[in-house]
Structure formats: structure tokens, C-alpha cells
Amino acid sequence: MMSWLLAAKVRMDALAADMAQAPLEWQAWIDALAISLMSGTGVRAVTYCLILLLIGGSVEWLFWTYAYGPLRALQATLARSAREALALSLRRLLLLCSGVLLFTGASIAASAVLSWPEGVQEAVLDVSLWLMVLRLAWAVAEVVLAPGRSARRLVPVRASHVPWLMATVVLVALLGGAARFLPDLVEQIGQAPHSAGVLRLALATLTTLLLLVAAFGFMGRPPRLAAPHVRLPAFPRSFPAAALVLLGYSVWLLGSPALSGVTMVLAVVLVLQMVLRDAVFYFWSARWDMGAGLAGAAATAVAANQLLPHIVLSASRFGVVAIGLGACAIALDTPLAELATGQGPLVRFGFSLLGVAALGLLTNLVWIAVRSTIDRRLARIGPLDPHGEPNPDARLLTLLPLLRVSAAMVLVVLLVLSSLWAIGIEITPLLAGAGVLGLALGFGAQALVRDVIAGIFFLAEDAFRVGEYIESGTTTKGTVERITLRTVALRHHNGPLHFVPYGSLGTVRNNSRDWVIEKFNLPLPIDVDSETVRKLIKKVGESMLQDEEVGHMLREPLKGKLSRIDPGVKIFRCKFETVPGKQFDVRAQAIKRLEAALKAAGIGFADGRQTVYLQRGAEPLLIEGARPA
């Protein structure tokens, strides 16, 4: 701690000394420069610089005589989809950047041929690189932001922000390039370390101010594409961004440029992660579907349910993290050899972080894939009517949410464990501990586990679904109303609701599957003609098929045949087949119709009266009320 404070003090003193001594040193340097410029050396340097400009300019001009036509064609092409817009913009960027690179390459290559006065070539190289950075930043900003051409814009920013954003990007590139090249130049060639220090301070301060203005100007109210009805309280993005910028500046001021660089990289990565979702989903927004007429919110909803935007989003998030880590490595001056071989604690930590990020994004992707598939399926099934017909999708409605929760849990556990493993924390003891704990819990919750596992098998084997009438044993019977992980709720036809754990369900008799055969007896007097009755029953059966009320419930029509002859009674056995649960209605209807049909045919039902013949000799004794045989 003390050493840090000491270092900060030293750094502050150095800055103060720079401030105090810079003006004199600067004056001396300018004078020396003026003297050396006003001589043959100066003339030569300026002449060579002009030659480089001419050579670079000529090469770029030559390039544009060929490339200008394609560029204009690209500019005049209207993009009809997001991918096309991106492709067109990338091609434009390629053309613009090629021009810049040709200019820089040609002038730098030409500079190797000339015999420069001492120190000038370094300056020229630095300045041309600076110029290149500036122009590349400009080209990228122009392609991405497309000032004045909203149809070509690749990011969702407000039109009024575009010129300012553009200016910010160019200015930051200008200042950043200056900070990278100028102070070193002043220090090495001008031998003016104090001036270089002041220059660094000035550039860092200016950049910080610019970034602060940008943070408050552009991040205050982000252009949300989210649906208006999910108005979450907006997180104040500008404040943490500004705080990060200030933190980076303070760290730099206190004497740790490397740490400050890491802070700034972190800030940029954070900001990018914050805006990346909107930026990626922008490509799937309705803006690109000409004439679709979807509002921005609806479009985002569309995008949120597609897998591709999420893949792209995850990939770009990972890309940003990877580039950020690379930038951190550069800022910390990590030797390239360490980077290549993966040696060194920091490098290893960086790679671990990268691995964790990749795992997280992969998990996220899997989760989104699972979730969106399940949600789509659920949406297609629609809500279930608990009092309607037993639905074959009912099981899905039960299982899918269960599956979603289980998938989330499994993914989180896997992510946590593998992240720990990727960071290098040993997870075997953890797993072993969890195993012991699981054993203890398992003994305690034996019944619970039995129920859950039995339930899984019941559901997997499709033993019953919501809305089906099942019986288990003798007393537990009813319509399945709800299925949970441990129990099934059965509504008895008298009203009570049974909650039966799967473990004690035992044998299940499902009365609601496929079909039901219902049989009943029809006792008729002994003297009826069996064939006539059979035909009559068959006729009734056929007429029932035509009935509006019960016709659709029948699978096999009513049929009957003589099955037994008892003393004084012919018993006809009738049977029909219906869809499950409808047999009672159909039976009532059948008996009603049979009764009417028998009556019409003059056949009565068998009565329970017995005929007793009393005989004296050969003469039967007639008793009133008895029919003759």
C-alpha cells in the first residue's frame, strides 16, 4: 500500500517538474528545429516529405480511377435485407480502407529509398501511421454510421446523434494516434522529455474530457428497441461509463499507464457488451423488411425468438471479450512468447477467462435453443382446457415446462462446474462432497425420490394424461386434473380430489384409452323368436349410428345375440364399442331405443312371474291369469 502511495507521489512530482520545465525546453526545441529547418537539411526533409505525399497520393489516385465506379455503384444500391446491407457496407469499407492502406504503404515503402536527414524518417513513419489510423477510423465510422444516409446505417443510433458520434470517433482516433506517436517522437528525436510528459498529460486529459462528454451525450438515453410494455427501469448507463473513464484517467495520472490501459479496455468492452444486443438485433429488425410494417418492438420480439441472432450475438460478445483480452495483453506489455506458449500466470488467467466466457456464451446459446424450441412448441399447443376432452398434447404441456426448468438447472450446474474447472479450481472434491451429501439426502428422502422416479416413468410411458379417468387399486379413482413432479391429482366423480404420490399409485387402470366395450343383458320372454329380436337389435344399432347425439361416439354399432336360455327367459347379450368415457350415455340411449322398438314389435320384456301348472289326471287345471302353454 505504502509503495503504491509512494509511487503516486513520485509520479505527481514528475508531472509537476514536467509542467515547470516544459516551456523552456519547448522553446529551445522549437528554436533548434527552426534553425535546422532553415538550412539545406530542412529543405531536403521537406522535399522528401512532399515526394512521399505525391507518391502516396498518386498510388491512391490510380486506385480510385478504378475503384470509384464500384464505390458509386455500391452507394447507389439499395439494400433489401440486413445481410445485404452488411455485405454492401463491408465492400465499401474494403474499398475505402484499400485506398488508405495503399497510400500509407506506398509512402512508407518509398521512404525507404530516400536518404533522410537524421531522425526525420522516424517522424515521417510515425506521422504516416497516425494519418492511417485517423483515416481508417474515419472510413469505419462513415461506413457504420453512414451520416446523412439513414438507409445504410448499420447501428441503431438516432439521426441527430450521428454527426456528433462521427466527430467523436474521428477526434478520439486523432487524439489516440497523437498520444501513441507524438510524445515518443518529441522524447526521442527532440530530446525533450519534459515536453513529452506535458504533451502526454494534455492528450490524456483532452481524450478523457471528450469521452466524458460522449458518455453523457450518447449513453444517457439509449434508443431502446424493446417493446413498450416491458418498460424496465432504465439502468443509468452514462454514469458508470463516465466513472470508468475517470477511473482510467486517475490510474494513469497516478503512474500506472498499463493498468490504466487495462481499465480503458475494460470500459470499452463493457460499453460494447451493453450496446451489442441492440446492435445485433438491429439486423433482424423490421427496418429491413420493406413494407412489412412491423413496429420496432414487434421486430425485436421476432428477433428474440430466432436462434440465429442469438448465435451472432454470442459470437460477437465472445469476439469482443477475446479482443479485449488481447488488448489487455498489449497494454500490459506481455511478451509475445508467453502469449504464444500460454506461459505466465497472467496469460493463463486470461486464457481461463476466455474459456469461461466461451462456456458462458455456449451455455447461453444452448439455453436459448432449448427455451425457444420449448416455447414455440408450447405456443403451438396453446392453453389446455381442463374440462375438455383428454388431449394427446396434454402430456407435452406437462412435460415441457418441467423439461425447461430441469434444462436450466442442469445447464447452470454444468456451467458453474466447468467454469470452476476452467479457472483451475479442483472440482473433484466438490463433486465427491456433493455425492456424500446426495447419499445422506437420498436416505432421508427415499420416498420422495421413489415418487419422482416413478413419476418420470409414468410420464415417459404415457400411462395417463391430464383429463383421463384412471383407477388405482379399488378406492382411488378419478379424472387426472394436474400432474406435478411428485403427485398426480385425481378428481373423483363425487367431487373429492385425491393427491396420489406416484410411488403409491401401483397398478393404474386407465379408462380413457382408445375404446371401451360395453355389454348389457336383455331378458325377453321365452317364446320370442330369437332371429327377429337379433335383427331388431341390429336395426336399432344402425339407427343409432345415424343419430346426431351419439352417432359420433360409436366405434362399433350395437349388436345383440341370444346368449342364454333360462327357465322362462331368453337372455340376449348386447354389446357396442364407443370412445372412452361415453359408454354410459350410449347405453342409456340404446336401452331407450330398444324399449321403444320392442314395444312397437309387440314384444314385452320377460316378467318375473312363474307359471305353475297344476294337473289332475290328464286334464290341466286352468288357473285364471295363466296362459296356456
Partner: protein, 375 residues
């Protein structure tokens, strides 16, 4: 109102004469890559004709004509919509006269003072490289400015001509090579001269003796030079004021140009169709940047032809050259004077200089001007 074609040809011709002078000058400088002696040896061919009263007179006349016509063209501007090349041309063109004036005055004084001095190329170089580097910088920048201005002008004229196909491959490298070689020659000869200054004190003394009275004279003429530059600045200010006045003129009279694709642009009365379209970022081909040379901005007027200014001679000639259909107009020459017009672009927005060179390849009746994206 002088004929537009005449003015254009006059400006072109004077520019060509000036360009010939500059090419000679720079070629002579490039000979410094060989030796200072070679530079002196080639003078009679490359520089001396311009020192003859006839050549000098022609040069001065052309310089004046070109400057005046350039200033006139600036004052005749109607809007800010300029291509990048146009801006470069304008700025460099305005910068040239004040930067050249010191060179002209210094060399003429020096040659009046001692006719022999001027002829010795080495002495002049010694002045630049050793005694007065200020003039060297001035010269270097003048070379850059004049050359870029001239090369841009020459290129944008030549590239529209059918002959460009054959000569383009030669002319373009020459345009690039001449100033580069000249600067290299300047640097090489400078090195030679500096060596001689060190090894030959008598020569050095001779130059110093000659230089003293000349620099005294130069100091005397400095105020006169300043006055000339000031006067020039006043003229430029006047020209810019006229341009500004034109731009602000008729600001309150908006007119409208509709394009066939559904795009539309608002502008003020008196602007050309092209200028109004450019102001609203409508993609509209204009290879020659509105000079009426290339014909790529030609449009077919569907409605409101009466709102446009009548055709001028330049427009007639260009339209005839590019085989424009009857009733076509040049977007850069047709000024919108009425409430509005509906036009259709006859060439796609990506038409390049070849559309002016080989107009037959680009005749597309009723082209909407928008590229169909690839399926």
C-alpha cells in the same frame, strides 16, 4: 452574357498553356537527377522560350485569363454542393497567385539586376538550399499546389475524351511522375550544389556578392508585393461575397424536384436539377461535377418542362454528343425556375467517365437510375 462554350474553351486553352510552362519547368528540374550541368544545358529548350517577350507575354496573358475566368467561375457558383475534387481545385486555385507572386518578383528582379545570374541554374539552387531556404519552401509548395491543380484539371478534361482510352495509360503515369521526378531532381541537385559550396569558396563568395544587392531590392519591393497580395485578397473576398450572395439569393423560393423512383428533393429557385438532387443526397451521376461536359447527369423531363431554363449552347453540344433522346436535359445545366419538375435519370448513378467517352454503350432508355440488387 458570353457563350458558355467560349468561356470554357478559353479557360481550357489558357490552362493548357500554363500547364505546358509548368511541365517544362519541372522537367528541367528533374534533370537535376543527372547533374546541375544537365539542367543548365536543357534551359534553352525548356525555359528560354518563356523568357522571350512573345512567350513571356503569352504566359502572362494566359495566367491573367485563367485567374480571371477561375474567379468568374467561383462567383458564378450557385450552391455549396461540390465534389471533393472541386473543393481541392477551388482552394488550390485561389492559393496559387499569392504564392507565385514572390517567385515571379524575385526572379524578375534578379534577372533585371544581372542577366547572367539567372542563367546560372546552380547559383539559384545555392540560394534556395543555403542562403534563403524560405524561398525554397515557397517554391516547393507552389510546385505542389500548381501541379495538383493542373493535373486535376487536365485529368478531368482528358478522361472524358474518347482518346483517353489510348493515351490514358501514358498520360496518367506521366502526370504522377513529373512532379515526383522534379522534386527528386531538386533534392539531388541541391546536394550537388551544397557540396560545391563547401569545396569552392570563391564560388560561394561570388554568390554572396551578387545576393546582397538583390536581397536589398527584394526588401524594398516587399511592401509592393504585400499590396498586390492584399489587392488579390480583396478581389477574392469580393468573388466569395458574390458567390455567397447568389447562394442566399432566392432562398425563400423553394422549388421541388421529384425523381421517378419516388425520391424527391427541395431546393431554392435558380439551382440546377443536379444541385437540388445533390443537396438532398439523391444518387445522381455527375462525372464532370456539373460542368456540362460529360452528359452523365442527363435526365428525361416527365412533368414541368416549362419550369426549366432553356437549353444553352453547351448543353446542346453535349446532349448531341452523347446521343441523348429528344427532350432530354442536362441535370447540371437545367435550372429549376418554376415550382417543380418530375425527372427520370437516364444513366445509373454509378456511371463513370466511360459513359462520357463511349456514350453508345450507355444509352439506356428510361433507366430508373437505381441498381437492382443481386437476387
Amino acid at each position: 452574357m458570353p457563350s458558355k462554350t467560349l468561356l470554357r474553351n478559353l479557360r481550357l486553352l489558357s490552362g493548357l498553356v500554363l500547364m505546358a510552362f509548368v511541365i517544362g519547368h519541372l522537367t528541367n528540374l528533374a534533370l537535376g537527377l543527372h547533374s546541375v550541368a544537365a539542367m543548365g544545358a536543357a534551359r534553352w529548350l525548356l525555359l528560354d522560350p518563356w523568357r522571350h517577350p512573345l512567350g513571356g507575354g503569352l504566359l502572362a496573358l494566359c495566367a491573367v485569363v485563367h485567374t480571371v475566368l477561375g474567379l468568374y467561375a467561383i462567383s458564378a457558383r450557385r450552391s455549396w454542393t461540390m465534389t471533393r475534387t472541386d473543393v481541392v481545385q477551388l482552394v488550390l486555385g485561389l492559393l496559387t497567385p499569392p504564392m507565385l507572386i514572390t517567385h515571379v518578383v524575385a526572379t524578375s528582379i534578379a534577372s533585371d539586376f544581372d542577366r547572367n545570374f539567372q542563367f546560372a541554374y546552380g547559383r539559384m539552387l545555392a540560394v534556395y538550399w543555403s542562403f534563403a531556404p524560405k524561398y525554397a519552401f515557397q517554391q516547393l509548395f507552389v510546385v505542389m499546389i500548381v501541379w495538383i491543380h493542373g493535373a486535376l484539371g487536365l485529368y478531368s478534361w482528358l478522361v472524358l475524351l474518347p482518346v483517353w482510352r489510348r493515351i490514358g495509360g501514358v498520360v496518367l503515369p506521366v502526370l504522377f511522375a513529373v512532379p515526383i521526378l522534379a522534386l527528386l531532381g531538386f533534392a539531388e541537385s541541391g546536394r550537388e550544389v551544397l557540396q560545391r559550396l563547401e569545396s569552392d569558396p570563391a564560388w560561394k563568395q561570388l554568390i554572396i556578392d551578387h545576393l546582397r544587392p538583390i536581397s536589398a531590392l527584394l526588401e524594398q519591393t516587399e511592401s509592393a508585393q504585400n499590396r498586390v497580395v492584399l489587392g488579390y485578397a480583396a478581389v477574392v473576398g469580393l468573388v466569395l461575397a458574390v458567390m455567397l450572395g447568389r447562394m442566399l439569393h432566392a432562398r425563400s423560393q423553394p422549388v421541388r424536384v421529384d425523381y421517378d423512383g419516388g425520391e424527391s428533393a427541395m431546393g431554392r429557385r435558380g439551382l440546377s436539377v443536379l444541385e437540388i438532387g445533390q443537396g438532398a443526397q439523391v444518387a445522381h451521376a455527375h462525372v464532370c461535377a456539373g460542368r456540362g461536359r460529360c452528359g452523365t447527369c442527363r435526365v428525361q423531363v416527365l412533368q414541368g418542362a416549362g419550369s426549366l431554363s432553356p437549353r444553352n449552347d453547351l448543353e446542346e453540344a453535349t446532349l448531341a454528343r452523347v446521343h441523348a433522346p429528344p427532350g432530354a436535359r442536362l441535370g447540371c445545366q437545367a435550372l429549376v425556375l418554376g415550382p417543380g419538375v418530375l425527372v427520370t435519370r437516364l444513366l445509373p448513378a454509378h456511371a463513370d467517365a466511360s459513359a462520357a467517352r463511349e456514350p453508345a454503350d450507355w444509352v439506356t432508355e428510361g433507366d430508373s437510375g437505381q441498381l437492382e440488387p443481386a437476387p
